[in-house]
C-alpha cells in the first residue's frame, strides 16, 4: 500500500463517483465514503420525477449495488462529519470519533433552502431533496388532495407534474412574473405554463407567499395580495444552499461554493471538492460558477479522483441539464448567461416540441430542447467544440 487513506465526505452523486474513480485511477490505499442518509448512494434527479410519481423504486435508484463497494474495498460509513482538523490531517465525526486522512474529498452537496415565513414549521410542509423527503411527501399526500407548491423552478414544476400524476389537485405559486424566470427565455417559460395549465395544474405568477396557516398541520397558503389558497400539503422548492460550513470552518476558501481549480483542488492541495458544493472558475465562462448538475458533479468527481492519484485531468465538459414533466423531456446544453438573441425552431405556443437556441454575438452558447433530442445532441457538440453555426442550420438541425 502506498497511497494511504482517502476520505470522501458526502455519498451522493459526486462522492459515490469520486470513490469509484479513485479505484479506477489506481488508488491502492483505503477509501472511506462517509454519508448521512443510511442508504446506498442513489440517483437524486428521479426523486421529483419518476420516483415521486411512483414509477420507480428506491432499488432502481441505487447508483451501484452494495457488492460493488465491497468488491472495490470502499468502506461506506453512515456518519456526519463535525469538523476537519487540517493540521492533524483528520476529520472529527459527530460523537467525537476521529478518522485520519492522507487525502480528503468534500462532496457535501447542498440542502433545500428553507422558508422563513410564519407557519413554515407546520407539519405538512415539505422540501424535496432526499429520498426521506419524498417518503414524507407521499405520506402527506394520503391525507388530502390539495397540494400547493411554492416555487416555479425545475424542482417545483417537476413535482407539480408528478403529484398531478398521482391524482392530486396541484397549485404552483411563483413570486416572479413567470416560471423558470432565472433560467430560460420568455418563450420557454410560457410553454411550461401552458402545458401545466393544460394538464389542470393552477399556476399563480407574481404571487408572493406571506404566511402558511393552520393549527398544527398546514391548511392554507396566504399570499401578499390577501388571497388564501387551501392546502393539505405544501412543497417548497425555492433552491438549494451549498453545504460549505465544514470547508469554511476549516479555513478553506469559500465563495458561494468551496473554491476549486481546474483539477478540483481546493485552496489546500490535499483536499479536493466536487459537485453542488463546489465553485469552479470555468474558463468557458470566465467566471466562478457553482453548478447544480449531476453530469457536472460526475465530471468534477472524476477529475478530483485523478488529481488525488497524481494523474493530470482537468474539468472542461460543457454543462448540461435535463427535466421531465408529463411526457415532455427538456434537455439543456450550456448556460445561456449573457445571450443577446434567441432563435426558435418550432412553435412553443402550439407545439409539444421545439428548441430555443441562445446566441451571443452570433455564436451558439446554449439551447433548451423540448422533446428534441436531435437538437440537443447537435447543440451540445456545436457549443462544446465552438463550431460556427448559421441560423438556417439551427432550424433544420433536429428536424425529423
Amino acid at each position: 500500500m502506498t497511497n494511504g487513506t482517502a476520505i470522501v465526505v458526502g455519498a451522493s452523486h459526486a462522492g459515490a463517483q469520486l470513490a469509484a474513480s479513485l479505484r479506477q485511477e489506481g488508488w491502492d490505499g483505503e477509501v472511506v465514503l462517509l454519508g448521512d442518509e443510511a442508504t446506498l448512494p442513489y440517483q437524486r434527479p428521479p426523486l421529483s420525477k419518476a420516483y415521486l410519481a411512483g414509477k420507480s423504486t428506491l432499488q432502481e435508484l441505487t447508483i451501484r449495488k452494495a457488492e460493488f463497494y465491497a468488491k472495490q474495498q470502499i468502506q461506506l460509513v453512515d456518519a456526519r462529519v463535525e469538523s476537519i482538523d487540517r493540521a492533524r490531517g483528520r476529520v472529527v465525526l459527530e460523537g467525537g470519533r476521529t478518522l485520519p486522512y492522507d487525502k480528503l474529498a468534500l462532496c457535501t452537496g447542498g440542502r433545500a433552502r428553507r422558508l422563513t415565513i410564519p407557519g413554515a414549521d407546520l407539519s405538512g410542509v415539505h422540501y424535496l431533496r432526499t429520498f426521506a423527503d419524498v417518503e414524507q411527501i407521499r405520506e402527506s399526500s394520503q391525507l388530502g388532495r390539495r397540494a400547493v407548491i411554492i416555487g416555479g423552478g425545475y424542482i417545483g414544476l417537476e413535482t407539480a407534474a408528478s403529484l398531478h400524476a398521482l391524482g392530486l389537485d396541484v397549485t404552483v405559486v411563483e413570486a416572479a412574473e413567470r416560471v423558470l424566470e432565472r433560467v430560460t427565455a420568455l418563450e420557454v417559460s410560457a410553454f411550461y405554463e401552458r402545458i401545466h395549465r393544460d394538464a389542470g395544474v393552477t399556476i399563480h405568477t407574481g404571487a408572493v407567499v406571506e404566511a402558511l396557516s393552520g393549527e398544527d398541520r398546514v391548511r392554507g397558503v396566504r399570499l401578499a395580495d390577501g388571497d388564501e389558497l387551501a392546502a393539505d400539503l405544501v412543497i417548497v422548492g425555492i433552491g438549494i444552499e451549498p453545504n460549505t460550513e465544514l470547508a469554511a470552518a476549516a479555513g478553506l476558501l469559500v465563495d458561494d461554493g468551496v473554491v476549486i481549480d481546474d483539477h478540483a483542488r481546493t485552496s489546500d492541495h490535499d483536499i479536493v471538492a466536487a459537485g453542488d458544493c463546489a465553485s469552479h472558475l470555468m474558463g468557458r465562462y470566465g467566471r466562478r460558477i457553482r453548478l447544480e448538475s449531476v453530469p457536472s458533479a460526475g465530471e468534477q468527481a472524476k477529475v478530483a479522483a485523478a488529481t488525488l492519484c497524481g494523474n493530470d485531468r482537468t474539468i472542461r465538459a460543457l454543462p448540461w441539464f435535463w427535466s421531465d414533466q408529463y411526457e415532455v423531456k427538456l434537455q439543456i446544453a450550456g448556460l445561456n448567461t449573457g445571450y443577446d438573441e434567441v432563435v426558435l425552431s418550432g412553435d412553443p405556443i402550439s407545439d409539444r416540441d421545439f428548441s430555443c437556441f441562445y446566441l451571443r454575438a452570433g455564436e451558439l452558447i446554449a439551447a433548451d430542447c423540448v422533446n428534441r433530442p436531435r437538437d440537443f445532441v447537435f447543440s451540445k457538440r456545436t457549443i462544446a467544440q465552438g463550431l460556427p453555426v448559421d441560423r438556417a442550420e439551427l432550424l433544420t438541425a433536429g428536424a425529423t
Partner: protein, 106 residues
C-alpha cells in the same frame, strides 16, 4: 452467469458478468468499464452510454429503438448497430456478447 465484453476504442477488452435483467449500462457502471458514463442514470437523456454492437450479435440483441435513435442520429460516431446501453435489458442468451465503445461519448 454469462459474460459480456466491452472493447474500448483502442482495443482494450473489459469483461463483465452478464447480470440478467440489468441494463447493459448498469453492468458497465458496476464493473467500472472505462468509457461508459451513464450520466443521466438510464433515461436516454444524455447519450453517454453509446455502444456499437458486434455485427454478429445484432440479430440477437436487436437494433436501436426510436428513443435511442433520437439521441444517436446526430452522433458522428454512430454506426448501423449503435445502441444506448441503458436501453438494453440483458438476457441470458446474450452470453458472449461483444460491444465496441466509441472514441468519445456525447
Amino acid at each position: 452467469m454469462g459474460v459480456v465484453t466491452f472493447v474500448s476504442h483502442d482495443g482494450e477488452k473489459h469483461e463483465a458478468p452478464l447480470d440478467e435483467g440489468q441494463s447493459l449500462m448498469q453492468i458497465a457502471v458496476d464493473n467500472m468499464v472505462p468509457g461508459i458514463d451513464g450520466d443521466c442514470g438510464g433515461e436516454a437523456a444524455c447519450g453517454t452510454c453509446h455502444v456499437i454492437v458486434d455485427a454478429h450479435w445484432s440479430d440477437t440483441v436487436g437494433l436501436s429503438e426510436p428513443v435511442e435513435e433520437e439521441m444517436l442520429s446526430m452522433n458522428p460516431e454512430r454506426q448501423p448497430t449503435s445502441r444506448l446501453s441503458c436501453q438494453m435489458r440483458v438476457s441470458q442468451e446474450w452470453d458472449g456478447l461483444i460491444v465496441q465503445l466509441p472514441e468519445f461519448q456525447m
